[in-house]
Amino acid sequence: MTDVPKQEAKKKQGRVYWIIGGGLILLTAVTFLNFALGTAVSVALLIAGLQALLAASVFMHLISEKKVIYILIAFTILMLLAIMFLPISAAFTNVGVDHVP
């Protein structure tokens, strides 16, 4: 008998995944409509950010993860920012500087 509420909770969780998945597909359709209407690309990137946030927090359960996973992700984001922005800043610092053969 004690398993019944647990089973119900799991079934409810399954429905949540469908709803979030439907929402994400709807956001994809909005991205396409934005593109068809010629709206700025920044809107598409903003929607992509929102989709990623939803997928990571609900599908990957980041909304209720353990502290050690959050620390790992924070460290990963730090390294990601470094790997993205250090080469970019180096490339733009050298813009217009001729290469010496």
Partner: protein
């Protein structure tokens, strides 16, 4: 001789998670670095280029949109497969995992059949320009990740399913970490789509 692997299912006291999930997150962290470097390359090459093609004119945006929806749908089906196992419904698990694989195969077929092959036939390849070099590299690496996911899921449906009878908790844990990987591959595509198709 069977070797007992500790903490593959049970929670470690020091981390609060089992080793399988922690290891998958570590692996995903390394994957973030891989795709981060590719996106960084894209920004540098595009910003420093004298001219750049209008990507949305070069790409098949409707197919890209459909593929995005397909991957999101497959993320839901793999979650349903995992939930089915937790409800001890192996038949439903098989159905949802098969659907996940089918959706991935549809994605790959659309990508290769409707996008890559016509591109190559029209003479657009790695060497055409920096955009196509990045496009084929990024979508190619992403496709390889998806293929790897299909192989792992096929294993779970085939040889791997024996574990459901012998050690169901460990099998559920395996599907959970496979799901984490699958969602990550979906997440990467969510960023690839606007970056390569719409910008």
């Amino acid at each position: 001789m069977d070797i007992e692997i500790p903490y593959s299912v049970e929670i470690r006291e020091d981390t609060g998670v089992n080793n399988a999930r922690f290891a998958m997150w570590l692996f995903l962290a390394s994957e973030v670095m891989l795709f981060g470097a590719l996106f960084s390359s894209y920004i540098i090459l595009r910003a420093s280029a004298a001219s750049w093609p209008v990507q949305s004119e070069e790409m098949n945006v409707p197919v890209g949109t459909i593929n995005t929806a397909i991957l999101i749908f497959s993320s839901v089906t793999i979650l349903q497969a995992w939930e089915s196992l937790k409800l001890k419904n192996f038949g439903r698990f098989r159905l949802y995992l098969s659907a996940t694989m089918l959706l991935a195969i549809i994605f790959i077929s659309l990508k290769v059949g409707i996008e890559w092959i016509p591109d190559i036939k029209e003479g657009r390849f790695f060497s055409t320009n920096n955009f196509f070099a990045l496009y084929f590299t990024m979508t190619g690496i992403h496709l390889l990740h998806l293929l790897a996911g299909v192989v792992v899921n096929a294993y779970h449906l085939g040889v791997g399913k024996k574990m459901w009878a012998s050690d169901p908790e460990r099998f559920i844990s395996r599907i959970e970490v496979t799901g984490l990987y699958w969602h990550f591959v979906d997440l990467v595509w969510i960023f690839i789509f606007p970056t390569l198709y719409l910008m």
